[in-house]
Amino acid sequence: MSSFKPKIIAFCCYNCAYAAADLAGTMRLQYDPCVSVIGVPCTGAIDLTTVLTAFEEGADGVFIAGCLKGECHYKVGNLRALERVKYLKRVLSEAGIDGDRLEMYFLSAAMGSRFAEIAKEMTDRIRGMGPLPLNGCPEEGEGK
C-alpha cells in the first residue's frame, strides 16, 4: 500500500473553505500534496456530473467543502451540496465504489487548521481504502 499515491480533489467555495485553505497556508500547516483544491463560487454550484467525472478521471477521493451550516454566502448552497453528496454516495456505492470516497465538510474562513485536518483526514481515509477500483481498468471512453 505504501506505493499508493492517492489523488484527492477538494472543491471549495471561495467565501469560506477556499479562504480556510488559504489560511492553512498562511499558518504554514502541512498536509499531503495529493490534495488539490478547485475553487467554486458556492458548493451549491457543483454538479452531480462534475463529481462523477472526477472519479471517472481517476480521483481516489473527493471532498466538497462549503461554508458553515447556516452561514452560506448564498443562504442554502452548502445544504444543497450536502444533499447532493448524500445522493452521490449512493450512486457511487451502487456502482461498486465506496461512498466514503466522497465527503462534505463545512468550514468558516477562519478555520485554517481545520482545513489542514480535513485534508489529512481524507488522505488517511483514502490511503486506508486503497486505489479507486476503477483505476485498475482502462475506460473505453464515452461514445459521444
Binding site: D47, L48, T49, L52, T53, F55, E56, V91, L92, E94, A95, G96, I97, P133, L134, G136, C137, P138, E139, E140, G141, E142, G143, K144
Partner: protein, 222 residues
Amino acid sequence: MIVAERKPLAEIVAALGKCRKVLVVSCSGCTAVCFTGGAKQAEVLASSIRMHYRVAGVPVNTGTVAVTRQCDREFLQPIEHRLTGVDAVVSLACGVGVQFLAEAFADLWVVPALNTRFAGGRVGTTLWEERCRMCGDCILHLTGGICPVTRCSKSLLNGPCGGAAGEHCEIDSSIPCAWIHIYERLKRAGRLELWQKLQQPKDWSRGNAGGLGRLAREDYSE
C-alpha cells in the same frame, strides 16, 4: 404529466447483460420535469454504468443523447446516426417512450431505466403525487374536482369506507381520505345531492381494463 422513478442500477446492468456499447437516451418530456429522465440524469446513469463495469474489470463504451419526447417517432429519427454499433439503448423515458424507441428501431435492444409510476403533478418542490388513473370516464364534475378513483385507495364511488381514521385513509395516515374531502367540498358548494345519488358500477372498459387504448382525431382520418 407522467411521473417515473429510476430503477436500481443493478437491475439496469442485469438487463444490459453482455452489451458493451450502450447509449443512454434522455427524454425532455415529463420524466425530465420530475427529475428522473433529463439529460443530467442520463449523464449520471451513463457514468454509473461505466463505473460499474470498470469496477468489474470490463470496460464499456457509453454515451448519452437527448430526445425532445421519446413518445413521438419524429423526435426519435434524429438519433438514428448515434445507434450505429450500439449494443443496447437505455431509455430514461416512461413506458411509452421506451416502446416507441423499440418500435422506431426494430433491431435495437432497449432497456428501461425507469419505473413509470403514475400520472400526477408536483405538490412540493421535490414531491409529486398521483392525480389520474386514466379511467376514461371522468366523474370529477360529480366529486368536486377530487378523483375518488385515484385518490381513494379502494377507488370507491359512493362514499368512504368504514376504515377512514379521522381524516385519513386507513392504509396510510399521511394520505387524506379522498371522500371526506369530496364530502366537505360538495357540502361547501351546496351540492351534496351529487353524492347522495347512487353512482352505478363504473364502465372500466374505457380505461386500462378495456384492452389497448386508441384514440383517433375525429376531424381527420389518415
